[in-house]
Subunit: 354 residues, 4 copies
């Protein structure tokens, strides 16, 4: 960390700051410029989290120079993390497509969607049993009944299941049924919940917040990792902006950015980002083109009967077509590029990530 002293700071201020930093257990390196003095703090910044550096007399700015997310950072874990979820791999070149309805409504719909997306190449099944809704008067999910339907669909198809956890008091219930716990945008900074799930043994998909920064997203990943769990998938579902043409704004350039910053798999959620069916496929394909390790996407055969977010669900035939495109992209990644350019990092296999 670097402290920039104000140009009125006295020698006494500088000494006193240096002394305080040393008391907190860190060495300093002082550079006196023509106008301003700069104090570099040497050592592990974690220990200084929460210290009131800004308030020390003479300090004008505090600049961070290294990432405050140690366990999530590639700097401390240079190799890709590959997760194995009931035999389905993701990360380290393995790609995985998670598809299914927004909410679980009926078993018939669920199993039909599950079989359809599996045939097209999906490797995990998503479905919501607890739904975070802006309005208290909207459908709130089927709860335990929905979880049971998901478990039944897993038995029938073999697809691992992904479902959202919204409340600390449902942890035991959700834990019992799901393969992957999803934490949604509105709970990205529900730190109490993040701490709890970090102590469990189930892989987690952590979506970014409504308007979180990448750094905050990684800090929330760090909350989970600091509990002990190592299996976190980072999902990008877009953020709020002033633009209303799309539901949210997703910059897929963040995919390679995150893959540089962290060793964990990074996936895109084009459904919640675009928010309108007609733009979801293009965005999902663009996300995979930008190098995402996978995608989580909503599919429903009858969007107007869906109990939530029907507007953004792909029809099964749209999903089939999108998967055809993704497979071509993958084949080309695997073969053509390998021959032509000698790719350093490709998966041995793709769909299913096995």
């Amino acid at each position: 960390m670097i402290l920039v002293m104000s140009n009125n700071a006295t020698e006494a201020d500088i000494d006193s700051v240096a002394k305080q930093i040393k008391e907190w257990g860190h060495d300093v390196s002082i550079s006196k410029g023509e106008i301003q003095t700069i104090i570099g703090i040497i050592g592990d910044k974690q220990d200084l989290a929460g210290k009131p550096l800004h308030t020390l007399a003479g300090v004008e700015k505090v600049l961070e120079v290294s990432a405050p997310y140690k366990k999530a950072s590639r700097a401390f874990h240079p190799e890709d993390s590959t997760l194995d979820i009931a035999g389905v791999k993701i990360g380290g070149g393995h790609k995985s497509i998670i598809a299914g309805p927004c909410s679980v409504d009926s078993y018939e719909n669920l199993i039909n969607i599950a079989k359809s997306v599996q045939k097209a190449g999906a490797t995990m099944l998503r479905g919501g049993a607890f739904k975070p809704r802006t309005s208290p008067y909207s459908f709130q999910g089927k709860g335990k009944e929905g979880l049971e339907m998901l478990a039944e669909a897993r038995r029938e198809t073999g697809l691992p299941i992904v479902t959202e956890l919204m409340s600390e008091k449902d942890i035991d219930l959700v834990y019992q049924y799901t393969d992957v716990i999803q934490i949604g945008a509105r709970n990205m900074q529900n730190f109490a919940l993040l701490k709890e799930i970090g102590k469990l043994g189930k892989p987690v998909i952590l979506k970014n917040g409504i308007a979180s920064t990448v750094k905050e997203h990684l800090m929330s990943v760090e909350y989970v990792l600091s509990g002990g769990l190592q299996e976190v998938i980072i999902a990008l579902r877009g953020v709020r902006s002033y633009e209303t043409a799309m539901r949210n704004t997703l910059d897929v350039a963040l995919v390679p950015y995150l893959q540089k910053e962290t060793h964990l798999p990074v996936i895109v959620d084009p459904s919640h980002s675009a928010g309108k069916r007609e733009f979801v496929s293009a965005l999902g394909f663009a996300g995979m083109a930008a190098g995402a390790d996978g995608m989580i996407i909503e599919v429903h055969p009858c969007p107007s009967c869906a109990l939530s977010d029907g507007d953004q669900a792909l029809l099964p035939e749209d999903f089939d077509y999108l998967m055809e495109k993704i497979k071509v992209l993958d084949a080309w990644n695997q073969k053509e590029w390998k021959e032509k350019f000698g790719s350093k990092k490709t998966s041995d296999s793709f769909l299913g990530g096995k």
Copy 2:
């Protein structure tokens, strides 16, 4: 609600949409324009929350015309709500200043701050025992010990206390100690928590989210109200923007906007918004000048020893001076304006809101 049909929509589409709306229990009013047809839905929109209106064939846009927050809305509750918190009134012309440290650190600091702010005119005491921190490595609050110190400070000063609740599992504990439950920005859409506290009997301060809209903020208020509780104070702590000069961006014009939309008291939080001590007083005073029903503000005698957010805490002498200014503003509200313009709505008394 209004459905705007696309300009390709057929007569059959229009009939089919109208039929579906009627099946959902609402009458429609159809206006055929030169280019587009518009279908107005008559009746209570609450019942349509979650219905997939966008996906009906031929529908291009769904426009909302009335507020989806019924219990919070002034339309359904034209009179101001006045809350009485252990004898301290807020709302309906009564103004209340809530001051104290960000986190409770030691009882000595707490009681000194409490006495100092009480003397200057504060009417409630704030202090955090559980702290939401972006980093898992930052100080997380003193928990139960902090709550006990707050209760002791209440006994000594008579000031009602305000403290933050972060987790469903701490509800009983916090309930037992506090006069007002504060829900912070990161939990504004922790719907599980909002539902729970709406069932309890304690007044709630609900801050806006990191980057929430006013409408979402009111929908979260509605979650609490829909549980049964009627005593909610709406707090504005600024939102995220691209501007980094301030910690957050607070537009105090939202104070009169919210006071028009809702019957509940509206207060400002200049500490979290400005984020730097030197700008907090000006923003707090501006919020009161814009007509806020009160303010929640951080004060600490030794910012560099504060365990969190020391950068934004006012010194006790700064707070004294700010209160002097606020009192003049209030006296003028009470006397000069009353004589001069005949104010329709002023408080009988101000500080302490009694």
Copy 3:
């Protein structure tokens, strides 16, 4: 357009609003709901631009239902517009890659880059002679000398040239040299300039503003079109957000959105959006994957000697590799998809758009 009356509006208010609208030459359609009355205005909304609808007594909200950009809108021009720029086609299935240095520095650099990008498949050459710089102390461009170098590079390579116009007083000068006039983000709402270039005969690339909405971008396109010019290329260079990981935020889902709204070609500018070389290729490729009609991209053999924006320029070898990927995507678009799904809209040929 739709006027939503407030729930206090009287019959007299409603009559008076209806009368005023009729005086302005439009019919109305009135729907009385249980709570609110809605007045639909029938006819061409252009005539009402600037009428103070909000201020009519009893009006609560004014809702727009159709696009205010008539000439840009696909509703009034259902076929794709194909532009022919000195033999290079763009739009209507023809794709075009515009590459070159940010600023023109030396002729040697310029011609080397031009030849290199042409070999890799670029179809137009970009280069700045006038540079908009946030700081008055930064390099401001080579002016006329730069334009002459561009013209010489065109003579040598045959590539049409694209350069930015910043000032009304340079119109004649730039017009004389360039094939395509580029208007940058900071001038997207320099309406005086937009009006002038709409009267000229040169095709225009209009980038979105620093933080413009899609609708404002299209309104600025409309300014140019309303002058008479029909050849406008819409370029997406990302917008400002609170995220600092990237220079700007570009949601490539806006590519299909704009292609639905308008008949004009839509291209992406990954250089200004990502702002860092290492993320530019991924974003450009994602933009093409999302269906963009082309790309404008910065290439420089020695980024650290570039006089502006060296951070975001691709090295020539990076560009070669990106073009290889884009060609595979295109070949697949052309052949595999055509056979497999029967594409309704593909170009007969791609690179060079001929």
Copy 4:
């Protein structure tokens, strides 16, 4: 400026960066931390504007430590600047209220408004002759005829006039008539225009851009100052955010922030920020409460006949009431505070700033 080297940077990288900086004429100070090396650049950063520091091998981040706006910065001009505009002072404790219609429509309206606002205490008259409108089909202003009406109103009232300049080609025309040249949000980064007006002798009001940062705003002020002109008034008209309750978002805490950063007068524009009449007074008063040196505000006796922005114009009686409030605030500033606290900086007189 500070260069943070990546943790893979070699000794050779560090040496090579240091050498390059020295070649550009600056000394360096190198601090080697446990993980990263930091290179401080000593001396005037202006000279490095535009140098591609990011691209030097091994550099991870470039951090700015001092303001890049030298002439605007209080660091280099510690005393407040006081402007004298035809006898009306602003800045240095002098406050000035600029009021009038959005657009000039008829002389009768203009002179009535001018007399009314003058009586209430306004010290300058605003009115638009050239209007920047998002739609090419909206009213674009009366041009020269409007300027003549403004000049006539000045003759009749003695109020200095403020009007907007939109185009380089109107500079001579506007210069001839106005006392203060206003540059609006859409032209805040029209650098060609800024350079031209910096060479003239007329005071300038420079509004912030649609979504500019404070730093960019100050850099645009610097463009004007670097031309030679010293008389610039900084106006805050709010910025774009995702919130739609207000037209724009104005954080009045930026008033004291800017007054700390710069020596120039800072005013607020509550009309364009709130955008709705009913919230304009509260925001304007809050801006003055936050310490603004003045206000620019729209007043029109018949908002529904106004040719632009009728929604946001105050009625003359609203303006009278607002001015009463502001006068009380000022009297209190002048007297009560002076006695009570000993104010270091108050104006000798207020309204009219004389």
